[in-house]
């Protein structure tokens, strides 16, 4: 049986190795669900547009940051975009599913006014450059589950 508590050397202090395990389930909501379902069923990346400010938000959300209005128009944005910035993680973490090194960055798709975080693939860390053009690579149909990870990663184009 794994030791749950252990005494620290040289002092009467014990450490308890435990866990907090609370089951969590997050609702994507109507708007979030539609965005994810479009990824799964149609390999389409959708954004929502503010009629007053003309800003296009990707991933789709429901409220405009600037005017507090409701984002009512749905627009398809392309699968290509610009890498605004990136980072490469060399240290793993027990809660993370991927093995290091993991490269990820903020991508602003053509047609969107916002960027979002995703993984970068098919590229060596040294070749990454701020401002480079990238393109979404989707998983195959049976692996897509209406998750942001239905996009496998973004890879460089050109």
């Amino acid at each position: 049986m794994a030791k749950v508590t252990e005494k620290l050397e040289g002092m009467d202090v014990w450490v308890y190795h435990g866990k907090i395990h609370i089951p969590n389930t997050y609702s994507a909501g109507a708007v979030g669900s539609r965005f994810l379902i479009e990824l799964r069923d149609n390999k389409r990346i959708m954004g929502t547009r503010c009629p007053a400010c003309s800003l296009v938000y990707v991933p789709a959300r429901s409220v405009c940051r600037d005017c507090f209005g409701m984002l009512s128009e749905w627009i398809e944005v392309g699968r290509k975009g610009t890498l605004l910035t990136y980072a490469v993680a060399y240290q793993g973490n027990p809660v993370q599913p991927l093995e290091p090194p993991v490269a990820y960055g903020i991508v602003q798709l053509d047609g969107a006014d916002t960027g979002f975080v995703h993984m970068l693939g098919e590229v060596a860390p040294e070749q990454l450059k701020v401002g480079m053009k990238v393109k979404a690579v989707f998983k195959i149909k049976k692996e897509r589950q209406a998750s942001i990870l239905d996009i496998k990663y973004f890879k460089p184009v050109g």
Binding site: D12, Y16, H17, I20
Partner: protein, 170 residues
């Protein structure tokens, strides 16, 4: 999604697909007992004794759990330790019927051992479990005695080195 009437409930007639994302991983943590609770752990493991510390000012014995500062007087507790008796009477008990989620276990369970407040023979209250799982045999005022984990290797869990309190036949 309703526009303009923010407090209307969604209609049940259309059933769109809503995505829910599950996150069910335990988050690992490491907690230190500190010196005071550490003394309780050490005495429980080595000597099967239950210790508590006493405030120099109000003389109150602090059972759950030994701390450096007295909660009533706000003074430094110092290092005055008292060995607690291991017998007492059941002051109050309750028992779980419905399995509820325990975050330290990571699942739903109904602990068969009833949690109780035990008035130890020196007049302090201890919160612990009772061995008796047949709820019909439980009674306030019954005499109980601590039952320790006998395996030395398995001890080292502080209050949980006492498994539960057993009813003593009078």
């Amino acid at each position: 999604m309703a526009k303009g009437s923010p407090t209307k409930k969604p209609k049940k007639s259309e059933q769109p697909e809503y995505i829910r994302i599950k996150f069910d991983l335990p988050r690992p943590y490491h907690w230190s007992t500190g010196r005071y609770l550490g003394k309780l752990y050490a005495e429980a493991k080595e000597n099967k004794k239950l210790m508590a510390n006493r405030c120099p000012k109000c003389k109150e014995i602090k059972v759950h759990a030994p701390t450096p500062v007295c909660p009533k007087c706000k003074v430094d507790m110092g290092w005055d330790w008292v060995e607690l008796p291991q017998t007492g009477t059941v002051f109050q008990y309750t028992y779980q019927v419905y399995p509820l989620w325990d975050p330290h276990v990571g699942g739903r369970w109904a602990n068969p051992h009833p949690p109780a407040i035990i008035l130890l023979d020196n007049g302090v209250y201890l919160r612990h479990l009772l061995e008796e799982t047949d709820t019909k045999k439980l009674r306030e005022g019954m005499r109980v005695q601590a039952v320790w984990e006998e395996d030395y290797e398995k001890r080292g869990q502080g209050f949980q080195d006492i498994l539960y309190f057993r009813t003593i036949e009078e």
